[in-house]
Amino acid sequence: MPRLEKKLQDWVSLEIISRDQARSILQHEEKTSSSSWIVYSFLILGAFTIGIGVISLIAANWQSISDVVKLGTDFFLLCGNAFWIYKSWDSGRRILLEVLLVLYLILCLASIGLISQIYHTGGKIYEALLLWSMITLGMALISKRSFSSFLWVSGFLIGLSTMLIDASFLQSLFGKNEIAVFMLLPLLSALFALLSQQFFSESRMMQAFIGWIFLTGICALVLLESSINIDNKTIYLSYLPTYIIAVLVAAGIFMSSSFQPSQRKILLWILALFLVSFHLPWLDIKSSVIYAGFTITILGLTAIYFANAKNQKVFQIFLFLIGLRFVVLYFQALGGLATTGLGLIASGVMIIGLVVCWNKYRNNLAQWAEEI
């Protein structure tokens, strides 16, 4: 807020706005966003900590407490939390409601852990996560803030990806081919994001899935680049699900009315380049520069997409990632130089040069991308 006050004072002194307007802006800002965000963040942190505490208590597996008491207490907590959510819904206290939703989500997961502990089920972690995702989907859809949705989507996607790698019934398809699974994950996230936009537009699910597209996409590209020199036996069948999902995502991009024609083109190019980059090992291409070229192009197109969608913050994050990849590429290509004094000076000059260029041209770049 002090930063805003300083800016408002500047604008008043430059006669851009009147003193009354400055006062009105300040009053409005004090009432809304930032303070509630801080409160919300701390309350979520508190709820999260309580949830972890409950899980730790369960994990301690106290011998002196009978199973019936443990289960009874657990269901009492669940019911109490559910009732409190119901009451908060009635009273219209949105922040409290969101905090209770987060707590409820974690308590449900802890309850699965408790049942697993008491009955010694030999289940896998992905089975617990997928069961949790199924039973708590409704809660994630009700939430109007990002954290509950992001928590749910994280649990669901981690469960799904672990299942793809670990489940015995998928062994004939994926055969522990992690690269194929990582290639599939951003596309699955994209498909779920498109479905969420279509069917649950009021919830925050779409934003959470979009977040995971980029998290898993970047992880997939890093994994691909780091495994260039590992001779993996290519299991062609494991790529089949990716092709099917890619076709569905492409169809979704075509049919969705929320993209402009230029945005559609960019997204389809990103999709195509992403798929091609994962097929470079099939052609026995081992040059790190070619892989880096694909990564930088994908990141660049994504930055252009976000600038075009008028999302300046994400645009700048991707510009930063491109810069970072360039620096890594420099060390990959000319790594030996960095061990010499002259090489270090050249590296430093290059980093400073990149930062200066980025600072100088970012606005022009954003404007150009917006106008595409």
Partner: protein
């Protein structure tokens, strides 16, 4: 704005499903036939559910999961003792599981224990003093009922 009905449904579903899961697990313990099997193993920790013993169950059956690549379903017939890759039609009592790189997993390879008891039980299990009591349903689903140390419940010190 969703209706209140949707909220109530979303709140009730997890509680009902978790209750049904609890009842199902409890009910499974009353089904089938009780079997005692020897075990050997070690003590890792589960992030979600805490300390547990994990062990190899000694089925006293030859060629378990032999020649199985990757993961595939498997069946251990307990009466008469024999391993099968397909559901054994003539077997009266069998455990259904998964062959994972020549190791049979019947879903009974872990037993949750209190943190304070973990060390003692780990030592006992490593010394081949342990066995588990499992309930085996007619369709081959096995569920642990009790951990025995030298033939007695682990709770009896």
């Amino acid at each position: 704005m969703q209706s209140k009905k949707a909220l109530v449904t979303a709140l009730i579903i997890p509680i009902v499903v978790l209750m049904l899961l609890t009842v199902h697990k409890k009910y499974q313990l009353t089904l089938g036939k009780e079997v005692q099997l020897r075990i050997t193993g070690y003590d890792p920790r589960d992030l979600l559910a805490g300390h547990y013993l994990t062990y190899t169950v000694e089925y006293d059956v030859k060629n378990i999961c032999a020649n199985v690549k990757g993961k595939a379903p498997g069946y251990i017939c307990l009466e008469p003792k024999r391993f099968h890759l397909k559901k054994p039609a003539a077997c009266k009592l069998f455990i259904k599981g998964i062959c994972n790189r020549n190791r049979f997993e019947g879903g009974i390879e872990r037993f949750y224990v209190p943190e304070s008891e973990a060390k003692r039980l780990d030592k006992d299990v490593r010394s081949d003093k342990g066995s588990i009591v499992v309930m085996v349903t007619p369709n081959g689903k096995a569920q642990i009922k009790e951990l025995l140390i030298e033939g007695k419940s682990w709770r009896a010190k």
